[in-house]
Assembly symmetry: C3
Homo-oligomer: 406 residues x 3
């Protein structure tokens, strides 16, 4: 009888635990919105804010009816009585995992900002959360193919692919899906003129900082609650997330020469990279992982923008794509016992997972955005882009009163 | 002995649980503040921010000494030793329920913005949290009259009035109290000229979006923690809140033609409407409830502003008032087992509750703001309104450095 | 066996509990950043934001390797396996207490704003979190000298120094360390001309309000989780924090004549003052403590700026320094049973603690900032200060797009 009571209490606590994580990652979407609003020009701030919040809503539908059933073999079209089993734990688990699924499109958003049409962007978000992400999720994490596939990987390389909170499954996937979308769209008008790079100034650093702070704070839900039950909570995950943030900020400051964009995105670079191994690496290694991630971000961002001439507005490919891969591989290195980690990882499995992520993401991204480009057209007209997506899509500016004053 | 230990642990967890809810709803007041600051003109931003934060403080006093004792038969004027019973659970319950009480004046605030004096506004807030709300609360939820009254309703219509998290008790009450206040005040200068509607542009969509996001996030505390004990936490409440938010956002986007105001307020419309039935309806129904709520908000807002010529600045009557009623009735419809709900509700009880809320709110609103108008005068002078409430009341603008630059 | 299970559950919950507190106080640092960004001129907003976030990162290193071992006799340079004992509780405790340590430099930041070099500021932050704060912490709270020292104080004055959440150990310490830094730096150019005070207008009240709101919300983690275990959670602490906030806001409104700066900082004044006694005073006393704190802040701020001619930009000495002392002494007064408190405090011990805090802080502040001034120089050149620290240190303005428009 006492045991039953305890069991039920633990069940309640697990609902609370995953819910706290879900709400914290929902907050991260506000962070994505403000990070982008601060980084784009004033004439595209409204669009940045609207894209993200509508995205989350559309992803909710897609993942409820298609994505979650696909990855986790559970159907939600049934009576509330049946859904309330275990106090609705499965529903809250849906909420929690949905928040990861919805990140994919939010990551893409930052890359395609200021020039993409609203409808194809949202349509892509539906398929990303409903199909593209869940298929990959089902391979690495889910209940469908993961047991067999990870067993196969373990058989080949000695350990399953280790990605605790999604450096690869979420961030690298999103960042590498963004790349074809960015390439298909092409750079913003005036970004590269006669082969010369002409950087477009960002609009609002306080918004960028606000977005970064919200992301940092919510990320503790992203990482810690990835244990998915209160009894497996780990202080190591929390402090590794903190250490990688610190490493990313200090790295961003040093390599970015005090630039506020690199400082605040450095934190995010560190957090992207620590997701995979946050449960197994040493806190000192976590600091190093974050510090290196900031270095990678600064260097890769400049290389992407100036040498490759890819107009990735928020730098989501280096931030999430490359750093997600770095995080996956770093888990294989620093997770080793000899480097102070908990062990149980294989560097080969991690590299295999990294290659798999890149290939799947690139193919999925080219197919999805390629089809949408043919069917709907991805890009605003020149006039719409010149006027800004706020006026062109939302028929309003971010500061409507100002227009009337002039 | 083990049982005692578990009992005490559950007590601690209940304190934590309600505290988490209370802090999340306290955050919602920051959301109200920024939603209003973004929607009013720049010359009234400071006033919006100050009104809400002072409101919460005055409500704290009113509800501690008058409101909570009135609704819950508990007196807090006693020693700390006595207040610490059950680790201060009753105090935290006060904090949690106070946050609901304080919403009433925050809702009114958005309707009467840009033209109301500060003192009568705050005075009204004291009586709303100290008397007007607690009386109604005591009827539906509290320990005082609720058992007898709800028994009577159940006897008449087959079930008590079901309002899990306050679609009617909080939101409709606030929205319908705001209506007489708005009518007594009259429209802002220049809002309707010779019978023609001349919309006044809002100032800052990022602030509006920030306010909306904070409200959305805090709302999970508003709804989930309304179970008031960890052992009754329900994943259904959480996911229904999410689904209604998604429905509201998608509805706001479609019916509001991508307008960021309708998108972000659509989320709030959905959340207002789901409060009542979030514990009993099916997630698919929750989506529908939110979607319809956004449609109601868009249509009723335009009808109110353009046909009825009521200058309700943030549209709090359609948002909280009408949608709160919709939420109460929707709980009676979609809560039925035949529609996938948990059952135990009566549509007649819900309609009765809705009518009761409207009548009580209108009477209370007319009496309260009518008396304050006679005694103190509600409205700023024309000159004060023209200069803006920031300069007139707070002797400063929202961006003081700018004034000095010019 | 059941007992073991419960023990482990409590352990998990303690990790969650302290983690929640840690993340809430981490959020407070975002609050510090926006409070300062709103209070300085536009040309120093970026610097305000960057200072705080880099500070937290540097403090993380300093406290991990030096400060925490110093105060709590634990070394963290060991394997992850060993760190995972008790599910990493010690690591999360480090995270939680680090957030207090990092506050010291964040408090100083507001006083020295708009004219201090970046490197000496960050260097000072390293020593504050690594050495200066931990030594004092070890005396009052830590595991090292506290048992002996507090036993000695109890022997002398009848009770140990009572400072539940750090009115003195954190806030007064930070505020009184800031004073010598401010005096060594001297006032901003143009702040006092020919002995006349020429107030410099602040830039952005919505940012100030946002910062204040974030601080208020996070403060519930600061105070409540200071119990450091779920089983000692106290609803009294939560409601006392709320009452002091309300008292501070109402006091700030009345004594500050509706000024938004005093309203929002009034809340913080109340919260600074309630930290020490939040676990023992009566909620009514908490309101009084907050109300008086707002009065102290308003009067002391004007006195400091206009009579003493100290250019303490955010008023951190009156806000944290003087009000921290007030809070420590107020705990000794209102903690008494005769005034409705829980008892167990000695007014003499509190005064002794207050004097000790002031002396230690002044000495530490003069030595630290004095040495840094000699070695690195604390102050920007006149030209750098005139151009603003954003351009001088970060090579960018807060709104880069605007510069390009002109």
């Amino acid at each position: 009888m006492i045991e039953d009571g305890i069991k039920q209490l633990v069940q309640s606590l697990n609902v609370l635990y995953l819910l706290a994580g879900a709400v914290m990652i929902l907050a991260m979407h506000a962070g994505f919105a403000f990070l982008e609003a601060g980084t784009v020009r004033v004439k595209n701030q409204v669009n940045a804010l609207v894209k993200i919040i509508v995205d989350v809503s559309v992803a909710t539908l897609a993942y409820y009816f298609i994505g979650y059933p696909l990855a986790h073999k559970v159907c939600f079209v049934r009576s509330a009585t049946s859904l309330m089993a275990d106090q609705g734990f499965e529903l809250v688990r849906f909420f929690f995992l949905l928040m990861f699924a919805a990140c994919i499109s939010a990551i893409v958003s930052g890359g395609v900002a200021e020039r993409m049409k609203f409808k194809p962007y949202i349509t892509a978000g539906f398929f990303l959360a409903g199909v593209v992400y869940p298929i990959f999720e089902a391979l690495i994490w889910g209940e469908r193919w993961s047991p067999a596939f990870q067993g196969f990987v373990e058989h080949l390389f000695g350990a399953p692919i280790h990605d605790f909170a999604g450096s690869m499954v979420v961030h690298a996937l999103g960042g590498w899906i963004a790349l074809p979308a960015i390439l298909i769209l092409g750079p913003r008008m005036g970004r590269y003129v006669n082969g010369k790079s002409k950087p477009i100034p960002i609009s609002n650093i306080p918004y960028l900082a606000l977005g970064s702070w919200i992301l940092i704070l919510g990320w503790f839900g992203f990482n810690v609650m990835s244990s998915q039950s209160i009894e497996t909570i780990s202080g190591l995950v929390a402090v590794n997330s903190l250490m990688a943030t610190a490493g990313g900020i200090i790295g961003g400051t040093l390599f970015g020469k005090n630039d506020p964009g690199f400082v605040h995105n450095g934190a995010l670079a560190g957090l992207v990279a620590i997701c995979a191994g946050s449960d197994i690496v040493n806190p000192i290694a976590a600091f190093v992982i974050g510090f290196v991630a900031a270095w990678i971000f600064v260097k890769a961002f400049v290389w992407e923008q100036e040498k490759l001439k890819i107009d990735d507005v928020l730098g989501v490919w280096p931030l999430h794509g490359i750093n997600g891969i770095w995080g996956g591989i770093a888990a294989g290195i620093f997770g080793q016992k000899v480097l102070g980690g908990l062990g149980g990882v294989s560097i080969l499995s991690q590299i295999f997972g990294a290659v798999l992520t890149i290939i799947y993401a690139l193919v999925a991204g080219y197919v999805l955005y390629g089809i949408l480009d043919k069917v709907m057209g991805l890009r605003l007209t020149e006039e719409e882009e010149f006027n800004g997506s706020d006026l062109s899509i939302h028929h309003i500016t971010a500061y409507p009163e100002e227009k009337f004053k002039v």
